[in-house]
Each structure stands twice: as C-alpha cells, then as structure tokens.
Symmetry: C2
Subunit: 75 residues, 2 copies
C-alpha cells in the first residue's frame, strides 16, 4: 500500500474566496507581514497503486475546470 | 519572506465527514484498493517570520478543538 497526499488548489486566476477571507481577517487580528494566502484541500489516502490516482482526482476529488491538483506519494 | 504551508486535518477520533463521503463514492466509480481517506485543508501563505504562525493557526486558520495543524516552511 502506498500513502498518497493530494493537494488541491484553486487554479491561478480563479478567485480564491477562502484565501481572500483569511487575508481580510488578518489586520483585525494584528497579523502584519502575512500575505499571499491561498486555501485549498488536502486529501490523504492509502492506495494499492498509484496508477489510477490521477483519474481519481479528475473524477472525484478535484474540479479540473477550476482546480489544480498535485499528487505526492510517501512510500 | 518565508513560504509556509499549513496542513489542517480533523483530529483522530473526530468524524471526517468529507473523507467518509469520498470513501462511500469510490466503489460506484470503480476504484478498488483505495481507503483510509482523510480530507483536510491546506493554507499556503507568505510571512515575514515564522514566529506567529502557530498563533495564526490557533486563532484563525484551524479550530483547535477538532483539528490538528502542521506548519511546514519552505525557504
């Protein structure tokens, strides 16, 4: 079994509403010097093989129209 | 500026509703051999220093009652 970590992020140029919300909240909480916030999802799973993980991302985990994904495997 | 990646996951023992939803959808899509799915959030940001990132997680990014977070820095 392999452990996979899939990072799913809004594509460049697509509005990242959660990231903007975090950025907007920072000054009120006194956090200066923090910016360029992007919020995405992480999916961690075990799979017997890496072969179909890309298909899994395309069909179920990500929305390829508006999201990019990156598959990292551990072991 | 440092680049930080913050991984936020449901704590062990807390129901991971999104992970369960993914697991439930796998058989209908023909994905065998995939399991132990956990879904969390990833927050990527730039910060002038790492000093207050833990505080940022506690106060804004994560819900420490039900979520664990992990801070990775790049450069």
């Amino acid at each position: 079994m392999i452990q996979a970590r899939i990072l799913i992020r809004p594509k460049e140029g697509i509005l990242d509403a959660q990231g903007k919300a975090v950025e907007a909240a920072l000054p009120a909480l006194g956090f200066e010097g923090v910016g360029h916030v992007r919020v995405g999802r992480i999916v961690e799973l075990e799979a017997e093989s890496i072969d179909r993980l890309e298909e899994l991302c395309e069909k179920l985990l990500a929305n390829p129209l508006i999201e990019d994904y990156e598959i990292e495997t551990i072991g």
